[in-house]
Amino acid sequence: MKILKNILNFFLSLRLSIWLIFVLLSLLFYGSFVMPKEKEFQTLNTIPLFQWMNENNSGITWWLWAAIGILVLLTVNTLLCSIESVIKKRVSKHWILIISPQLIHVGFLFILFSHLLSSYGSFRGTAFVYEGSALQLPNGLTVVFAAINTDIDHSGFIKNWSADIKYFDERRQMTKDVISPNNPSFQDGFGIYIKTVRLEPVPAALIEVSREPGAFCALVGGVLFLAGMVTLLIFKMKKEDARI
């Protein structure tokens, strides 16, 4: 029982949060200098993070493993501190304002969770496609690129581009869509992105197929974080003004 209490006290500490953030900062600082130097990092954005970390030498990935370890500790620390704070302050008159830091913490945890999901199950693949060519997605659907369209200005510069696509499930057409920069098409968790086009010798487009399982979770986290941040800002401004 005493050991449990000691563990709880260890995690219920602001000092621990500060130290964990400091160590995390130091690890990322180190990593930012290693990343551009080691050629192995060039493939980091093409496969899920955990797969990449398992496939590469721990001599270059140790700082990422350590950062994940620190993030696990920070998650426990954040959760316990937030629960304790809500319990302590639940009777307060300005309850919503006082729990705003906890809303920020929940948003932060959602974002961390989204990264965990994406680090495990993300997918990215690129290919050049021509008008009329087809691409099979990892979930079995087929995408046919019916037309590649360009918008060219008077000087010959391609201002914008798009592609008309059709989804097929076996031989049955399911739906059709138009993709353009910043306007991908989503189907069963997969996003189809058009990166660039070329017109010669025949119209072709660089396509990326991507799956980010953590995207929705990250959006929820972002909204919660900002909502908490705005309420905290109002609360803190009032509090600091009262102090002056």
Partner: protein
């Protein structure tokens, strides 16, 4: 800046030439209301004007980006991401100047003012990161890329998170937190200009 905006038909926030100018204008924009909170207005305005002039001077070393924008940059999410980032950078710069004034004059009010400015800057910077993630998801298929620039953005965000958490402890109030606020702007400058100069990244500024 307005003239250039009209000339280009967009907010001038592409490349170091435009963004340094935008940063300089943002610093002045935020400095004016903050000055009203100070007893001696000239004490703050004078270093802030010098800081702004320095950034304008620095912008002259970079070529203006006059070619048409790639379509992937023509979106609300991208423009908001950049504008909010530079508003936050400007506030962090202002907080650093106020921190230096605190070290010289030892007025407690300056330390509190620095904290409030950093809090607003942190809020805008967090929003900028979230907006950048949304843009990245629609433009590149992912809300996060492992590049030195993005890593440094997280370092900067974590550093100010550290500042905000540290300031909750009594020991950190006063000079230590002010020092953190000043150091933060050094990290801002490295994230903004240093990373592009010394490391390869998908961001060009």
């Amino acid at each position: 800046m307005f003239y250039r905006g009209i000339q280009m038909g967009r907010v001038p926030i592409i490349g170091p030439h435009d963004t340094l100018f935008f940063l300089s204008a943002s610093i002045m924009l935020f400095a004016i209301p903050v000055t009203f909170k100070m007893k001696d207005k000239r004490k703050l305005l004078s270093p802030v004007v010098w800081l702004s002039v320095f950034f304008i001077f620095l912008s002259l070393f970079y070529k203006p980006h006059n070619v048409p924008l790639p379509p992937v940059l023509k979106t609300f999410w991208f423009e908001t991401h950049v504008v909010l980032s530079f508003f936050a950078y400007a506030l962090f710069g202002l907080a650093a100047v106020i921190g230096i004034l605190y070290l010289i004059n030892k007025e407690e009010k300056s330390e509190q003012l620095q904290y409030k400015i950093i809090l607003v800057g942190y809020c805008l910077f967090s929003a900028a990161m979230i907006f950048g993630g949304i843009w990245g998801y629609f433009a590149w298929g992912t809300y996060w890329l492992w590049t030195p620039k993005e890593l440094w953005t997280v370092i900067l965000w974590l550093f100010y998170s550290l500042y905000l958490h540290a300031r909750l402890r009594q020991w950190w109030r006063g000079k230590p937190s002010v020092m953190l606020g000043i150091t933060g702007f050094v990290i801002v400058m490295f994230t903004y200009l240093g990373v592009s100069l010394f490391m390869k990244s998908s961001h060009t500024f």
